[in-house]
């Protein structure tokens, strides 16, 4: 068993939604959630669900091969700035390698992350895809 069932269960909100921290003092947003604002240290914060909408700051096309995930490459990994201001790392899916670009508008979408062997758990989580009308021919 390579995926921890308690972990997946307890992190379900963090995996199935993009939960971010908004600081009520300095106003900045961060991901993932934390007990204090990573920018100003304030504990005057709230946890909210991100809109899931954001924009690609920059991206890389990865050919780095990991056992059991060889079929996943090439994959697009990007730094994304969410509308709420938080910067997140994520995978961009449903996009051609020639279509991915800086400034591309994306939205969060629930996708499969990993499978634990033939009979184990399937782990889902948030990835990103281009927003329809974001300048990619459909």
């Amino acid at each position: 068993m390579k995926i921890s069932p308690p972990r997946i269960w307890r992190e379900r909100y963090n995996y199935y939604m993009l939960r971010i921290t908004q600081c009520l003092d300095c106003g900045r947003a961060s991901y993932p959630t934390s007990l204090t604002c990573p920018y100003c240290g304030s504990s005057n914060i709230r946890t909210v669900n991100s809109s899931g909408l954001g924009e690609v700051i920059t991206y890389t096309i990865s050919y780095f091969r990991i056992e059991g995930q060889e079929d996943e490459v090439p994959k697009v990994i990007a730094l994304i700035k969410l509308r709420e201001g938080a910067i997140v790392l994520g995978e961009v899916v449903d996009v051609g390698l020639s279509e991915i670009r800086e400034g591309l508008e994306v939205e969060a979408v629930l996708r499969r992350l990993k499978i634990d062997g033939n009979s184990g758990l399937i782990w889902y989580g948030m990835k990103f895809r281009p927003i329809i009308g974001a300048g990619i021919p459909t």
Partner: protein, 378 residues
């Protein structure tokens, strides 16, 4: 007759490589055989500090420091393992330094050891993910090489560099490694080879990435000056080992800064270190990081590092992580051993008259960083 200073009096290194036919114990036996030529370590070592990162997942071995003691018949001497990601080697050095400086012990053997090629690369790659936050990068199998690629793109765009401009570092490292008998990659490479090598994470290519290799290296630290006449090939003084952490990449206001390294470099003035009179070993796990480190060190203006690298003569004479190799938990100990050799008996044929040695490590993209300050003996 104990000194209030701590000295590195001896070092041993195995050439970094792919040792399918040797276990971690075999590599350490070779180190110890080299050290024992002067005097059996059994006679003078009080403590063993082991730096290792992947023993649990790759070797299926915990408490590896005790296994090493048993293998070497050093009982009842104590040993401990230190792990701080890619900075583990310098953290082991710091532990050893504090044991001596506190008066708790006099002579410490620091061993850095990592066996990576026990498995095919894709299996080792799986474990490399664990160096990053399992709740952030781990979830998506994002690795440091991907983050380095993102920084490389930002750097090229911000400072107007072409992909070709950034080949100067790996070419220099391979050139340096030719003279280091312990380097994994001892071949010269060309600009064309770099830019045509396999894409790992675009725009980062194979020759921008440290190779995978096994390694083992050891140094002996002591405050016992009498031991120096019996052991080793000359001493250097360990002045201090500094260590700091940084916020995760996504929380940095400037994505091209290295906050932990920068913080440590800002302390160097307190020690009177003159960078031009230093032997420098920096953590160039990926080409882009070398440029960023050179800039954080103040050896170049922001964005200009690729233009000054050729003129910096005292940096990564070992070949760096790029060409000496990066046996993860062992790397910091290699760097220190190399500086010890460079300032005393020579590393292969290379020998320097510089007064200082500065060794820099970091884990992933500067999640933590460490600096060891070394000074030529009086």
């Amino acid at each position: 007759m104990l000194s209030s200073n701590t000295y590195i009096i001896s070092s041993a290194l195995i050439r970094v490589g792919r040792y399918f036919n040797k276990s971690y114990k075999d590599l350490i036996r070779e180190l110890v055989a080299e050290l024992n030529k002067d005097l059996p370590i059994h006679d003078y070592i009080d403590y063993v500090v082991v730096s290792n990162v992947f023993s649990d997942s790759i070797l299926e071995q915990l408490d590896i420091s005790t296994m090493i003691i048993q293998e070497l018949n050093l009982t009842p001497k104590p040993a401990v393992r230190v792990e701080a990601g890619e900075s583990s080697g310098l953290m082991a050095l710091k532990y050893a330094h504090s044991l001596i400086k506190s008066g708790m012990t006099s002579t410490v053997l620091v061993i850095g050891v990592e066996k990576l090629v026990e498995y095919p690369t894709t299996v080792v790659n799986k474990y490399m993910v664990r160096l990053l936050n399992s709740d952030v990068e781990g979830r998506y199998d994002i690795v440091t090489v991907n983050e380095a690629a993102l920084l490389m793109k930002l750097y090229m765009k911000k400072h107007g560099h072409s992909r070709e401009d950034l080949t100067i570092w790996p070419i220099k490292m391979h050139e340096n490694a030719v003279n280091n008998p312990y380097a994994q990659l001892r071949n010269r490479i060309t600009k064309e080879q770099v830019i045509n090598s396999q894409i790992i994470s675009d725009p980062l290519r194979l020759f921008d990435v440290h190779p995978l290799g096994d390694g083992a290296s050891a140094i002996v630290l002591t405050n016992n000056k009498e031991l120096m006449s019996k052991v080793g090939t000359g001493c250097v003084e360990l002045i201090d080992v500094l260590h700091a952490s940084a916020p995760p990449l996504t929380h940095r206001s400037d994505l091209l800064s290295l906050p932990a390294s920068k913080y440590l470099f800002s302390k160097l003035g307190n020690y009177g270190v003159d960078l031009s009179d230093c032997v420098l070993e920096i953590h160039d796990s990926y080409t882009i990081l070398a440029y960023l480190i050179v800039e954080e060190l103040g050896l170049s203006d922001r964005g200009k590092a690729p233009y000054v690298v050729t003129d910096i003569k005292n940096i990564n004479l070992s070949g760096g992580l790029k060409a000496r190799g990066h046996p993860v938990g062992a790397t910091g100990v290699y760097q220190v051993a190399e500086v010890h050799r460079l300032l005393t008996s020579g590393l292969g044929s290379i020998k320097l008259n510089n007064s200082w040695g500065l060794v820099h490590s970091m884990s992933s993209i500067d999640n933590n960083a460490a600096v060891a300050l070394i000074r030529r003996c009086g």
